[in-house]
Symmetry: D2
């Protein structure tokens, strides 16, 4: 008997990032990545990509250390919001109702098993561009300004978790996400990571093993551009502006994403992303990679460096992040 899929979560709504260097972080997201500031309140600034449907998809909040704040998911209907709130509360993970963040109606807050703060909401203000920001395309919420990278929209985020299976089950069972890919080592015994999504987008949430045993940490937040060439251009722009590129441009084997990882000045790992593939099948069978198949995580292009495993935000060990590629004795 094939169960009916749950369709209560519509998509990733927004991600809050903490930054100890708010001015420099803003420079990174606005001037280099080309996002737009739409609102400010308290120590938070709200940003968006030119193609984001909602008013804001990134909330940047001043804090003592980098990391992830609240991750917001949009429900598919008011009833779906109520259903999810009830199920999460019954599972003992609930925090409670809040009045809703900028541009949104009330939300139900909770924590995933690893402790990351999340919320679900339904009501959302669609972005209405002010005069100078209107696009000449009626179906584009905002003018494409041609400033910096010009990221189009938010795509996904990856969280670290000390217990990946528990968090993966939470996402599939309580949120209804479809499991897309997994990395499982030691003959199926050690689940290293799971990639999941409530939409046709390959993944909007990944849980990956926290090798340092931390809790509530962020691996990366990812922003979309339409073409692989846009990712290459982003590498030129980051390089010209002194931003250390941790990895890429290169192609992942799992997800097939064409990636470019850098750290925004506050310390959070940000991905500029294109490619990958859509999943539409209701009976999708997760693709599972073992040690040999997974290899370096790269299909082609430079292998992911050790920092890709060791560094996350907040950094719980040394407070240092890599700032340049180790120099090898390569001279031509």
């Amino acid at each position: 008997m094939v169960p009916e899929p749950l369709h209560d979560i519509a998509h990733l709504g927004s991600v809050e990032l903490f930054t100890p260097r708010p001015e420099r972080s803003l420079w990174y997201f606005r001037d280099l990545l080309g996002m737009t500031i739409v609102h400010a309140a308290g120590t938070s600034v709200y940003l968006r990509g030119y193609g984001d449907h909602a008013a804001s998809t990134l909330k940047l909040t001043e804090a003592g250390a980098p990391g992830v704040g609240c991750v917001a998911w949009r429900a598919t209907s008011p009833a779906a919001l109520e259903r999810r709130a009830a199920a999460i509360e019954a599972a003992g993970l609930g925090v409670g109702w809040s009045n809703g963040d900028f541009g949104r109606g009330r939300s139900y807050r909770f924590r995933d098993p690893d402790g990351h703060l999340m919320e679900i909401y339904y009501e959302e203000q669609r972005y209405e561009a002010p005069a100078g920001q209107r696009s000449s395309l009626k179906n584009q919420p905002q003018k494409y300004e041609g400033r910096g990278v010009g990221v189009r929209r938010s795509d996904h985020l990856a969280l670290l978790a000390s217990d990946v299976p528990a968090n993966r089950r939470f996402a599939t069972d309580l949120l209804g996400f479809q499991l897309r890919e997994q990395v499982v080592f030691e003959h199926g015994k050690t689940e290293i990571g799971s990639w999941m999504s409530p939409t046709a987008i390959h993944h909007q949430l990944a849980y990956v093993l926290d090798v340092k045993g931390g809790h509530g940490r962020l691996h990366h937040f990812s922003l979309w551009v339409d073409n692989r060439e846009d990712v290459l251009r982003a590498a030129d722009i980051l390089s010209e502006n002194g931003i250390f590129i941790e990895a890429g441009p290169a192609k992942h084997n799992n997800s097939q994403g064409f990636y470019l990882y850098s750290y925004e000045p506050g310390g959070n790992r940000i991905e500029i992303y294109s490619g990958s593939y859509l999943v539409l099948a209701p009976d999708w069978q997760p693709v599972i990679w073992n040690e040999a198949e997974r290899g370096t995580g790269t299909y082609w292009g430079g292998a992911l460096p050790d920092s890709f495993i060791q560094y996350a935000t907040p950094d719980i060990e040394n407070g240092e992040r890599p700032t340049k590629t180790p120099k090898l004795p390569v001279f031509f």
Copy 2:
């Protein structure tokens, strides 16, 4: 009170095209577009793009004239299939159950109000590549061979209809598709076209006014490539092989699709397509274009020619299709 969205249709499954020149049509889809033949039965050949999840997404059937055969939609569950079959039958549009086409379980057949044959199915064989066709990417169903254009997957189709509103209501109300964009002329009185989708893909079905008053006709079938550069390369390949390009490469205003339209040798209009944008909002408000806003249908690049309105398959008037761009007195 916000209604809950219907999630009974998962995605476009496959499209059957009729061709009076099966050998030449096969050459176009296999050698120029880079699709793979997976099966043959009777006068039909089944093809796929390297990234299609199912065994086949295009069925090419020999016939006296070009046009569209059966359009198949996949249900999200067995129960969803039953629900849709019951609703369509109750609406008086049902044809009845069939045993299912290649690689599929039983399907419920019906006709849309304009008379196009359609079906819904749930059970589907996932594509398993034979030895020589396996990809080095575990999550890619088939090797990317680098032959011709290399279309990745089917994307959408556009059908003509003499009564666009009736067919649009059928798709939204009975199939549960979300209405994404519309072209409406004469102060809201004349609905020229409606673009709809059961997925995050911008549209998987469009109904556009049949200006010749025909029924059951095809405007175009569209295949996806990942980057705009792939569409440009496709223009080079089609041009080198004597295929008349009707329009593009250029960018639509509605859908923002980056398009290239040509006729396969059987006479059907085929689009090679990238760009566009995903829609995830459960309360998406359709973008409606009037005469002035719609203009030539092109955001930039050459305007769509008159044949784009006048020609469809089967051609009910003159049996002729354009084979070259009208020569203007332009000489440098």
Copy 3:
């Protein structure tokens, strides 16, 4: 007996454009195309692309009407400069020596047979970027800022001429340019255009028939970007900023250039350009196109419009230039 090719001209040095709207022209070149202002003197402003070797390749001068001022060519050596000056003077086309424009040594000025003002110089200041404009690439003269289109360098210009053969002979015989392609109508009797170059770049100078019988007019000035995708992105940027696109993005048949033509606000036609091909053969045989082969001048993409022949700067007839694509009755 094969003659030895002449190598006295090294490359196109710079182009001066007249504009009746200097503020708006500056906005176009600086904010939309991403060029940098390096100098101002009198009513002129000097600009450059981030990859231009010399300090400036575009001089923008306020004037009553648009058009082309002085076209400067760099000699390969001081002796080559003297040789060309003597030969041009002997041909009766000389104007005389000048002290040299911004960043350059003395130059020899002359007029081509059609009356366009030109000069040859040898000494040239290499661009040295100020602190904030230095690239992180030691071999790149200036930072790639990621502002607007980001044109890399000047590429070529096309001039109108009432007598194409006379001007073509001038360029090949007196300047030593290699003839690359020609459009010749009426069984070889009417030379419509000739494309020539002193470098491996396909053409740096074209003469095309002035159908209105004018003299000294400009057809277009062309700026280079590295990839076809950059031209597509340029189309997005121009469209978002209300700049009328006259033609493209599309691919020329002659030159194979991937083009995008727009008018800068002063009225001059500007091309954003990539693709084409290099010519290295010392015995290159010109490719000659007749009426049938030339067709619309477009290999694929929208045909060149009538204005592409009728409009040039200064406009000697109606003072009007097209501002929008004629609306065809195309509605989907």
Copy 4:
């Protein structure tokens, strides 16, 4: 007193590669890279890219070990050929006149100081495509077939030399190449590599230090594609066909080339290449990189691996070449 530049060499004509696995090497160049076989004689096969002007630019010769055979340069005129032959003979490097290889007139053969065999010729058959291979573009020597990578033309080669300065002086003084970039270590004392060209192409010949003290060895031969996206597509094609990618797709700092290095099955390192920049200045000042500036040789993208220094053809030490990326303990 500025000397007049020497213009006796027009461009790189062709490169001969030795392969111990001729069948597999042919598969690589023809089926994966998309080159065309135009001729065969003895144990040699002659190939070309679709945009190469001459009949052949790559000669593949069966041999016991991989490596480079004769490197041919085209003179700018018959007189230039005589001048270069006389100068090289006077320098004691001459081998003597030969009757010329396929499609060419007589050539003067010689060895560079490191011992690589070279020749200069002037007469050359322009490629005339047979019926099925004609392009729909009159200015393109051959149809773009859309098979595999589709390299357009040969670009450059890099040779190892035990004494880089001696070989660099040979190329600049005797062949007249312009010095474009250098890597010089130890405060100017150790010349690691020099990049030179007789054309506007950034470099057509590089000499790089042979760290194993060999002679006459090849570092890599490079083939051009028009867009960076074509290099990415090439990485997909090589990966799908089990070809080990040694480095890239990534961007060099020196030359700015966007590169992809793999080994053809015979063992020679082949680069698929785009980007870089043209040099037109007659007084170009070489860009010189020291240890710190040179770093890993990569501007962005994965660093060049150790094999990039250690491995060349013929391999004089271990007869082994890398076949896979070292596995790092990176697991997500």
